[in-house]
Subunit: 333 residues, 2 copies
């Protein structure tokens, strides 16, 4: 039971190999009758083009690389959601996805690119001074980044508009009449790493609070319950009249509610809480959290679309910021 090749199909259909190829690729006109005959043979023999041969001859592997980070502080569920959406979208464009971890570093990217294993790259969680960025500029293959390096010039970057997300939270709380609010942020290491999104959220939050004339505070925070409890307590001790809390730390969101309960503050009666986190986390919490979602699915879909456009040789914007949306649930009033 040898594997079926295009030559087998050609013989079965009584046409030339090239004709089969053209039927399958649609790159030249083929009469309806011939096309049908070929298609029938393809089905009858169960033909599947050999990926290697196709890649060799056409210089297109129909595979894109997805490079995921796996460092501390990354939210795994979101990453997974993102990956899923990338795979699903890529399949819609008839491409497959090669999964890579960031710890292979620039060399890993160079390897898959130089060996023509992939036609394009998708990098998640790009840092401000990312050592992979200079390499990407040299590569023959196009790439799309999730996140923004210091100089995005000549690159294609996608991200949630975190500054807007921060502002949106401040706006929401201000609109509800709160006068003293605070941001409970990501673990300190995230800020230090300079990934950018944490700072941008903070900046947007502060800007929004200022614009509304609110008293605003902000703290990084680790993810353990004890740390969250301590930070919330600190915030509350320093500002007894604090009545609005923005949480930009998915892992901590649930703990914040627990801590407030223990500290004798009711949510939302005493303190309104707004989270910047995926919807499922917000919904699972009790009370359900008013939240600005991180639309992992949208980001993935958009990133793949941009990459596919680049593969087609189309021009695409350097920067794509996804508009955040605030969903009001039970934790704010």
């Amino acid at each position: 039971m040898r594997t079926v090749t295009i030559a087998d199909v050609a013989k079965h259909a009584g046409v030339a190999v090239s004709t089969v190829s053209y039927v399958l690729s649609g790159k030249r006109a083929i009469s309806a009758t011939t096309r049908q005959r070929v298609l029938d043979s393809v089905r009858a023999l169960g033909y599947h083009p050999n990926a290697g041969a196709r890649a060799l001859a056409s210089k297109r592997a129909k595979v894109i690389a997805l490079v995921l980070p796996l460092r501390a502080g990354m939210n795994l569920p979101v990453l997974m959601r993102f990956a899923t959406s990338v795979v699903t979208t890529a399949r819609q464009y008839d491409h497959d996805v090669l999964l890579m971890t960031a710890d292979e570093g620039p060399d890993g990217l160079h390897r898959v690119a130089a060996s023509a294993l992939v036609d394009g790259l998708l990098l998640m969680d790009v840092e401000i001074h990312d050592p992979r960025v200079p390499l990407l500029r040299k590569l023959a293959q196009p790439s799309v980044l999730i996140g923004f390096p210091a100089d995005p010039h000549g690159l294609t970057c996608v991200d949630l508009d975190f500054a807007r997300a921060g502002t949106l939270c401040a706006d929401h709380l201000a609109g509800l009449g709160h006068r003293e609010i605070a941001l409970l942020g990501a673990p300190r290491v995230v800020y230090e790493r300079g990934t950018g999104f944490a700072e941008r959220t903070l900046a947007g939050f502060v800007e929004g609070a200022l614009r509304h004339g609110l008293e605003a505070d902000a703290r990084p925070c680790e993810e353990s319950f004890d740390e969250v409890h301590a930070t919330v307590k600190l915030l509350l001790d320093e500002r007894p009249r604090l009545s609005g809390l923005v949480v930009h730390n998915e892992a901590a969101a649930g703990h914040v509610l627990g801590a407030l309960r223990i500290l004798g503050r009711r949510v939302p009666e005493d303190v309104s809480v707004v989270a910047i986190c995926p919807d499922d986390i917000a919904e699972r919490a009790s009370p359900a959290l008013t939240s600005v979602l991180i639309p992992a699915e949208d980001v993935g879909r958009q990133a793949v679309r941009l990459l596919m456009a680049k593969l087609e040789g189309q021009a695409v914007p350097e920067s794509t910021l996804l508009e955040p949306r605030l969903t009001i649930r039970e934790s704010s009033r």
Copy 2:
């Protein structure tokens, strides 16, 4: 700046193309001096073999498929950890990983296999009556399954020994002197899906409890705080002297502690809690949970090893059960 081919290397080193190939593959003896000359040229020119050409000529793509599920009830962080360990291990064997989602179904597997895109497949979360299993038996490529279908004959399956995990929990609680214990399980849908692992845990738990002559109870449980709270309350109402709780539901583990707190039971003074969950979840909880870990990393590594062995034509065991380990933390005494 054309891409460098093996012919360029051969010319640069003053040898035949085949000699370069043999140097790189090590499949024939090459003199030390020639080898060095070739290696120098490779480096000087920055040569990387073209993956498509290599795959075509050698019939080995050096890529394996990783098929991940994305259904309700799956724990995303564990999935991600698993994927990471698969990628890392595969790289050690000089292979890359093609990421697929289970929703492409049997057709998707058939596609990547028939097109020789991959040399082998790794399927996560196999169900008792998995529609993909009959296909796997027909494929030219070897595969390894995480989980067990009804008839594992002729396949290669890896999993945590969930029955042992359940028993281990019962043993631990019995050893601490508890007489009435209960298992708080996965969401009902997980049992209904017949994935097997939930039942096996339950069976192991019951068996262990019986052997020690304990009173034992068990309930499936959804993941929301409210549901967990309700289930814990029910358990406690029915058995006021319940003093040991096994939680086999990662998402609920944290909520269980919260519920017990609200219900006025101290952990571990009044109730000992043992979880079957990844270490990080157990450690993050407060108090830290005594737990049997789901060793996602081990499973991934082991699965890749088995697949690589099969690719080399070696015989491997049909069934590999990974021994669970119980880590004692603060939540049991």
